[in-house]
């Protein structure tokens, strides 16, 4: 049996017994039941599985669980605080920036990651930041709108 690994996900600590080369995505979904993080391709091409690892957006299908151990992981389930949506979640909701919404978790996590390093992104910055996230329904213009609004929301002082 593999050595137990310590994971810190959304502020909670977990001990998991998985081979170290198992992609983080499968551990999140199948072991921890955090199914908001989606499988889209397993090849790091579609962005549906994006989580924050040490605060940076990463494709969880490409990260061996052993490499994620000991570093803070945030998934879509960890964004909402005390019943209040994260500004990026709120902006996606307000803009109706989804159709089938299968890509939405990954889009939101990539956008949260982008806004952490760039509080005032231009449209070109957002295109660059989300280029690795696919939406097959063609909701891109509304996603752009949502991220621009989220940036605005995040800059406003919170009441």
């Amino acid at each position: 049996m593999a050595n137990p690994l310590q994971l810190e996900v959304n502020g909670k600590r977990y001990t998991v017994n998985y081979p170290g080369d198992t992609p983080l995505l499968y551990v999140l979904r199948d072991e921890l039941g955090l199914t908001g993080t989606k499988y889209g391709c397993g090849e790091g091409q579609c962005g549906a599985c994006t989580v924050l690892l040490g605060g940076a957006p990463r494709r969880s299908c490409q990260i061996p669980v052993s490499a994620a151990a000991g570093r803070p992981i945030t998934t879509i389930e960890g964004l909402e605080q005390n019943g209040k949506l994260h500004p990026v979640q709120q902006a996606f909701l307000d803009a109706g920036a989804f159709q089938c919404a299968y890509c939405t978790s990954g889009m939101i996590m990539s956008s949260v990651g982008l806004l952490k390093t760039n509080r005032n992104p231009s449209a070109a910055d957002i295109v660059q930041g989300l280029q690795g996230n696919m939406c097959r329904c063609g909701t891109h213009p509304r996603i752009m709108e949502a991220v621009l609004n989220a940036a605005k929301l995040s800059r406003e002082p919170q009441p």
């Binding site: 989606k38 964004l79 329904c137």
Partner: protein, 717 residues
């Protein structure tokens, strides 16, 4: 309502999966109330509804299985006033969970929030052939209007009985019936209390015309939207059951390969793993995906493969085998082609080709199956739950009544999820393991073992007179399909024919079916004819049109785009295209920029779309913008590469789809025709983008591109 049945040729298509099972309504009324509690229920018979609809399609061209032979929609009002609408249609991102609830709320006169929809569950919802063909809105909207209207009448009658007054003076509004004379008032919930009233629709009830809609026609946000931004919504791959195992299937090395020898001695020893070898099916179920895969990796199989054709000989094969899978029973033949060609000012012949493309829905095919006491329940993302149920019942030799298929709201489909593949696999493994099994296809499986939009070759021969009017039109489609094959332009002399070819790759429905291929060929050809006649492409189309709805979308798109425009930079080009299909109309104007290396960037798109009365403008804008963006992929770069029964590019790294960098500025102009019954909008908005881009590339470079994709590696300069 305007008559448009003569324009409407629904699904004359080989590539809409359309097996024809026998269906029966199995849920007895008493079971219905047992499930839902007391209240009032209204059922509608679909056959009757269709007969009463002005948009009724001609029976000869309509798939019989789309006409359920019993109940087709129902509505329940509970004792607490909750209204539940039941439909066999599935929510696949197209927003019917919201738009159908709007329709019910509107007609029943209740707040939108009090309506919920139960969709695509073979035990709870009425039979439905499937969610395809842009039928959800045109078929379900009038049905729910009629059930809701009948339910309202029933509630008013109940109130009249209760107060011992005439029903005529009573008013139904805001979830209540009230009597202005006595000031009596009762909520729908109160009126439904203690009742188990059910009624199959009586005669035609008049329904509310679009001009008087209050909840329908409005931009109501998507139902359940919060669960999408929190990750709480569960798609099929997200479902779990106690004791559930993960299933994997061993795929053959190429299409049609069969097993010569099978040795699982190395795999069988693994604990906790169930291995199944049944005919050419080999699968494993295990506590983790990884363990299931490992078990399959240990199986030794020798396959017998069959030689198959590849991309490079595809189009010559299609052309040479035209008609080998059946000739067109209803070719269009009008006037005399000889006369049409005689005295023509210009003649133009051209051949167009269309490659196979994949749907690539982001949620792959998946199913979770559970057997209990000989009964099978399967949760799966499919557009045809009832057909899936029938196939499961037939495959496992159990009665249909022992199979339940439930469709969680899906991570999209675009016509790609009609089959029951994943459901069969999960059910087979679950039966062997004696535990629930979930199968989730990988992206590579999705790209390889699903099915494709069929490739095609289209030949066009044509002539125009010195005035720029079409005088002859010949159109031959090899393999790709008949949807949208008929020209909307006025041509006295024409021949239009479809030539079926035996399948090369497994093929099926794709958003818009062959209408995209047929519009690509036709609208590219129209552009070339306009150039030959030295007439502006918009003026040329208008000159050859008589349909005012088509003219209206062309003019609306042109106005939004500011057509005709003057080029201001090198490499800039403008193109337009238009069409109609499935009762709706589209026109698309495009601006491209082609750089020095021949790379094409679509800069701007203005698309006008008209599908009758608009039910939800916000949802419709999503469909139109989404279709433009999805269509851009098939137009510019999507193509399945295959060789000898193998897909060569089964990954997003090698199969390019539109991403943020590819997205143009988009204006969607929605024309609201309150005098026309709502048509579907999921497909037609995709049809005109490819030819519009191609025509813009010609405008920019002088190169006439006659193949889809147009420029996977840029335009050769």
């Amino acid at each position: 309502m305007s008559k448009r049945s003569e324009q409407f040729v629904p699904e004359p298509e080989r590539f809409e999966f359309s097996e024809n099972p026998i269906h029966k309504f199995e849920l007895a009324r008493r079971d219905f109330f047992h499930l839902l509690g007391a209240g009032i229920a209204i059922f509608t018979s679909a056959t009757h509804t269709f007969a009463g609809q002005e948009t009724a399609p001609q029976s000869k061209s309509f798939h019989p299985e789309e006409l359920p032979n019993d109940i087709s929609a129902w509505l329940h009002i509970s004792e607490d006033g909750t209204v539940t609408g039941f439909t066999g249609k599935a929510e696949i991102g197209q927003n019917i969970r919201t738009s159908l609830a709007q329709t019910i709320a509107d007609e029943l006169r209740v707040p939108f929030e009090s309506v919920r929809m139960v969709t695509a569950d073979t035990t709870l919802t009425p039979f439905d052939a499937g969610t395809f063909g842009s039928r959800s809105t045109p078929s379900m909207t009038p049905e729910f209007r009629r059930v809701a209207s009948a339910a309202r009448d029933l509630l008013v009658a109940e109130a009249a009985k209760k107060w011992n007054v005439a029903a005529t003076g009573l008013v139904a509004a805001d979830g209540k019936v009230s009597d202005p004379a006595s000031h009596n008032s009762a909520s729908y919930g109160e009126l439904a209390q203690g009742k188990t009233l059910s009624q199959v629709l009586p005669a035609d009830d008049p329904t509310t015309p679009p001009t008087q809609w209050t909840v329908a026609g409005k931009e109501i946000p998507k139902v359940g939207a919060r669960a999408f931004v929190t990750g709480a919504h569960q798609y099929t791959p997200d479902l779990r059951l106690p004791g559930m195992l993960h299933g994997k299937v061993l795929r053959p090395p190429s299409f049609g390969a069969t097993i010569v020898s099978y040795d699982d001695s190395a795999a069988k020893t693994k604990p906790g793993v169930t291995l199944v070898h049944d005919g050419d099916f080999i699968g494993a179920a295990a506590p983790t995906v990884h363990e299931a895969q490992k078990a399959l990796d240990a199986v030794k199989v020798q396959w017998k493969e069959v030689p198959q054709i590849s991309n490079r000989e595809l189009f010559s094969y299609l052309k040479q085998n035209g008609g080998a899978a059946g000739s067109d029973k209803h070719p269009i033949k009008r006037g005399s082609l000889q006369e049409g060609y005689a005295g023509a000012a210009h003649r133009l012949d051209a051949t167009y080709t269309v490659e196979y493309i994949a749907h690539a829905p982001l949620e792959p095919r998946a199913a979770l199956a559970q057997w209990k006491d000989g009964k099978l329940a399967v949760w799966t993302g499919t557009q045809r739950p009832f057909a899936n149920r029938d196939e499961l019942a037939a495959t496992f030799h159990v009665p249909e009544s022992n199979v339940r298929v439930i469709v969680p709201d899906m991570g999209s489909a675009y016509g790609g999820k009609h089959t029951s593949d994943a459901a069969l696999e999960a059910a087979r493994l679950a039966r062997a393991a004696g535990r629930p099994v979930k199968v989730v296809w990988t992206r590579e499986e999705e790209f390889t073992w699903a099915y494709f939009r069929p490739a095609g070759v289209i030949e066009v021969k044509s002539a125009i007179d010195s005035d720029g009017k079409l005088t002859a039109w010949e159109f031959d489609n090899y393999h790709s399909g008949k949807s949208g094959i008929e020209t909307p332009y006025v041509v006295a002399n024409q021949r239009v024919e479809y030539h079926a070819v035996p399948l090369v790759l497994r093929s099926g429905s794709y958003r818009g079916l062959a209408a995209t291929a047929n519009h690509f060929a036709r609208e590219t050809h129209m552009d070339a004819l306009a150039r030959a006649a030295e007439i502006d492409p918009l003026a040329f189309r208008v000159k050859n049109l008589s349909d005012p709805r088509m003219r209206a979308v062309l003019e609306a798109a042109a106005k939004s785009f500011d057509w005709p425009r003057k080029k201001t930079t090198d490499g800039q080009g403008f193109g337009l295209a238009a069409g109609n299909e499935k009762g709706s109309y589209v026109a698309t104007c495009v601006e491209v920029a082609v750089d020095g290396k021949g790379e094409v960037k679509v800069v701007r798109v203005a698309e006008a779309f008209e599908c009758g009365a608009i039910v939800n403008p916000d949802g419709l804008r999503h469909q139109v913008v989404g279709a433009i963006i999805q269509g851009l992929g098939g137009a510019l770069f999507e193509a399945i590469q295959f060789e000898n029964g193998r897909i060569q590019n089964p990954h997003f790294a090698s199969y390019r789809v539109p991403r943020f960098r590819d997205i143009p500025e988009i204006e969607a102009v929605l024309l609201d025709r309150k005098d026309v019954a709502p048509a579907g909008a999921g497909e037609t908005p995709i049809m005109a983008i490819a030819p519009a881009i191609g025509n813009a590339i010609f405008d920019a470079t002088g190169k006439r591109l006659s193949m889809l994709p147009l420029a996977p590696k840029g335009v050769e300069t």
